[in-house]
Amino acid sequence: MSRESILAAIKNNQPEQQALPDLNAFRRTGPGDPAAFRKVVETLGGQVFGISSYTEIQPLMAEHLPDARKIVAIQEQYWPGALTEWEAGDGRQFEDVDLAIIPGQFGVAENGAIWITDIEIKERVLPFITQHLAIVVSSQDILPTMHDAYEERIARPEGGFGVFIAGPSKTADIEQSLVLGAHGAKSLTVFLYTPKS
């Protein structure tokens, strides 16, 4: 067991303690700007639609992905008639899913990232293994920066797994040429939902 010897060496060698910096100066007051959020998601290769009803999702996706057959929707209202009973399995049942539509808890305006946890999506692998991904997020739930996100919304972990997703899966490993669709979703569609008042 090396645990004790490692810990003893660290205790012996670690420098004098220094205080942690105050991060409050990095916080913004007020909500994040949905227009700025939209712009960053588009720069990252995603597409963004403003919607005022979930019924708009189906026609918009049908235009973008006319060949999508196997569709998983986390909330039935996103896509009436989507696959049901998809939860049985170890994740491999999603191997041939064309499109997954999932809810996002909130978005971050500075970098286009959307927070998702396994509480909503149940199967962790779903947003990665699906060929195409759509995330529904309320335009009320846009925060300015990552500091605001961690302080206001996710100071404590919920669920066993959470992820910020910013844009579709991508790589530039071959001569720095940007290619969308490395291992995860080949495309990302974000629906910014603002209910009619």
Binding site: S5, I6, L20, I154, A155, V163, I174, G184
Partner: protein, 458 residues
């Protein structure tokens, strides 16, 4: 043979044999550096963020003992199994045992510089287990039987035609097809099959939060998540310095990491692994491998703040023109050159000298490591310990004699100028390393001291 590897200068010279390729390599990395600048300059509080990140990491170094215990306690409460490894050999043994318990012969791994440092893949291969690297760049160098040449861009030294040839040979793509989009699609197909069949997945760790016992893994491709979520057993390997105190500190590091690395606002996926999914095992291997020793070296402990963004490599005039393989270490570039001598001072004695000490690395470092100053200090330690090359040591010794005696210095200067004026061929030849790629200057007639004496009177 004295060393296992050729020296940096020799390997750099080999890389420089193809001038067009060196220029391309240089320009490509400089382009990444420029993308980083654009991102950094778009954030008014960028310098404050760097300062905050550096101070958080300093706090970590001073409390590492307690933070590790806090992390272990919380990770165990989350349902993870925590292992401790003193060195690379123990790390590899722990991983092998976990794989043997599962009866696994072939499994996937996402990018982990730690497992490169520990040479895990060849060790597992010796025991009949094949590791499939799933980061596209890492898979490419793996097929080419090479190590990564850059910690963020593992195959940055390869041209797309070479990758096309590799894929033709190993994945059966059509000969001569070197289109990045086509090749990426082929790799996606090939690696999806590996993710589906793999029952164990190894990932690296970018940040481990003491407060919550969770680990954050950042990728653009989604390979860490594809592997970890489909596997029955997830093994996360991390150096002990990856600890950060609280969850809110992720806000600082996630803002800095991708902007510094590739000029993106954030990586596509920033995954927070806290508890294993139902029915899954989560193992975390905490690895020391010299880190606790480096922690005790006052001049060098700041190197442990590194978040592995690679910005120091992209900006380094030596790295860009010598290539990652010239550093003969898992981590290349300026940061590799200050980490490696801690692992083996003799083996890596050449690396701190592979620098112009221009300081650009320190200027771009998101956690403000004084990289160029540490390079300079390592040179002194290495020379004192007697690990410098004999020719370099002899030259330094001669310079010390001449520079410490003013009379001798004056005479030597006069002789040198006379020789350079009268017999320029003595210095303008291949035996003089300063003559490479440049003409020697014409020697002045008088020394500066004589010139000053004469002109001060006027």
């Amino acid at each position: 043979m004295e060393h296992q590897h050729k020296e940096h200068s020799v390997l750099a010279e080999e890389f420089n044999a193809d001038e067009a390729r060196v220029n391309w390599h240089d320009e490509t990395l400089w382009w990444v550096r420029q993308k980083r600048d654009k991102m950094a300059w778009s954030i008014p509080e960028w310098e404050d963020l760097r300062e905050a990140a550096s101070r958080i990491k300093h706090n970590v170094l001073g409390n590492l003992h307690d933070y590790l215990l806090e992390f272990e306690r919380n990770a165990q409460a989350n349902g993870a199994v925590v292992h401790w490894a003193a060195d690379a050999a123990e790390h590899n043994k722990i991983v092998l045992q976990l794989l043997q318990e599962q009866g696994v012969k072939r499994m996937v791994k996402s990018k982990s510089m730690l497992t490169e440092e520990c040479h895990l893949n060849p060790y597992l291969a010796e025991h009949g287990i094949e590791v499939i690297d799933t980061d596209l760049g890492e898979r490419i160098v793996q097929l080419a039987k090479e190590p990564p040449s850059h910690i963020v861009l593992p195959c940055i030294h390869k041209k797309k035609e070479e990758i096309g040839d590799l894929f033709h040979e190993h994945l059966g793509t059509p000969a001569g097809n070197a289109d990045p989009k086509f090749l990426t699609a082929a790799a996606r197909q090939h690696l999806r099959a590996e993710f589906i069949q793999s029952r164990v997945a190894i990932t690296g760790v970018n940040f481990a939060v003491a407060e919550t016992g969770e680990m954050v893994v950042c990728t653009n491709e989604g390979n860490a998540d594809m592997g970890a979520h489909l596997a029955d057993v997830h093994i996360a390997c991390m150096g002990i310095e990856k600890i950060i105190p609280q969850r809110k500190h992720l806000g600082v590091f996630l803002r800095l990491l991708a902007r510094s690395a590739t000029g993106q606002p954030i990586t596509t996926y920033s995954s927070h692994f806290r508890a294993p999914k139902k029915g899954q095992q989560l193992h975390i291997v905490l690895v020391d491998n010299g880190r606790s020793r480096q922690l005790g070296r006052e001049d060098f402990r700041n190197s442990l703040k590194c978040i592995r963004c690679g910005a120091c490599m992209n900006t380094c005039p030596v790295y860009r023109r010598s290539g990652g393989h010239s550093y003969h270490n898992a981590i290349a570039g300026p940061i590799g050159a200050i980490l490696a001598p801690n692992l083996d001072m003799k083996e890596y004695a050449d690396l701190p000298f592979a620098s112009t000490l221009c300081g650009s690395c320190s200027n771009v470092c998101p956690v403000k490591i004084d990289i160029h100053q540490q390079l300079y200090k390592w040179r002194q330690v290495i020379t004192q310990e007697g690990y410098t090359k004999k020719t370099k040591a002899a030259g330094m010794h001669a310079m010390n004699i001449v520079l410490s005696k003013p009379g001798l210095y004056k005479t030597a200067g006069g002789v040198g100028r006379w020789v350079m004026r009268t017999f320029p061929a003595v210095v303008n030849n291949g035996l003089n390393p300063w003559f490479k790629q440049r003409e020697m200057p014409e020697a002045p007639k008088a020394s500066f001291a004589d010139w000053y004496k004469k002109n001060r009177k006027q």
